[in-house]
Amino acid sequence: MVAVHPSAAEVWSWLRDIADPEIPALSIIDLGIVRDVQAEEDRVTVTITPTYSACPAMDRIADDIRARLKQHGVEDVHIATKLSPAWTTDWLPAAARERLREYGIAPPQQLLRTEEIRPVSQPDAGPVVCPHCGSDTTVLVSRFGSTLCKALYKCLACREPFDAFKHH
């Protein structure tokens, strides 16, 4: 096989449409999981960061990156993991937030950075808007949902339950 020497920009473009295994409406680039790409000769190093410490999708994401680069002829792929700066939903671009909403998941709110432990009577942020009908009369059903990154809500207007991306 002919060795390929891709540029970092090419590698970024190849990774652009790798879907997140748990939320396929978003790519791993949208989510900010890919932090860095280094391409030297025929060796490519992709640095990723976990969304949550125990995100079970990290191994799958690493495998998907290796498989994608292999399709483009890159055999020597190194996946590095980086914890700091800690991943935050503040990194999600506006277009990705809109795609989440269309997919039926309320996008994360901008995080209010506070050092206080917020009591029940003071919610963490503004109201979570229903992704189905747009109403903001919604209630939290559970702080945890079907994956680590989502919470469960219910809309009081259209009565539909929905997932909301936890702001993190």
């Binding site: 410490s53 125990a54 700091s84 432990i117 009591p119 029940v120 702080r143 945890f144 936890k166």
Partner: protein
Amino acid sequence: MSGQSLFEYVLRLGDSCLILSQRLAGWCGHGPEIEEDIALTNVALDLLGHARLWLSYAGEVEARGRDEDALAYLRDAGEFRNVLLVEQPNGDFAATMARQFYFDTWHYFLLRDLRASQNSRIAEIAEKASTEAAYHVQRSTDWVVRLGDGTWESHERIQSALDDLWMYTGELFEMDAVEREMHECGLGTDLERLRQQWLEHVSKTFGEATLSMPQAAWMQRGGKQGVHTEKLGYILAEMQFLQRVYPGAQW
């Protein structure tokens, strides 16, 4: 600072997360309602993530070829350094949430301090884990208020669970030689100051929940030095069974 102290210190952090995670995983399929079943196991999963980060680092510090799995599955009770609080049984939902509330409040303030550790690995793990711990403490605080300020039955149960577990909270703030050394060289933190922050949040929450502060009790200690209650052995028997019987088995 000695490598041995650093190893001990990181093991304490990892083991407390690991054992509490294992305890919480025992709720899987037994939660009082589906949402809480999911929440309990999600918290267990977060804590398992923290345990893996700490234990991997502990293995590197020790430099004797033990990885996270060797540390989790191939040590006996006397080598575990978790606090006694986390090995206490699940009991009913109130007992589990009382244990979680004491732990989460301590964990949250501890990780917040450790973000400024002079040791970059400790600082980055703490930075990552603290965002998750902040979410946990909100949830367990919510539950203490909801159960305390709920029905007569829920009030009685959470009060007695909080009273029963009180004697395991002293150890969270115990400054022994390892903790002092880590604090003095800027890697750890001042647990006496942390106790004040912890007490402030606990008493504020109890006020909101119409609960009383537990009576002063003899504080149990020993977990951080490897002296455990008999309960840890049973936890390990279940947790380590597969690796003991089928050494090296992979998922």
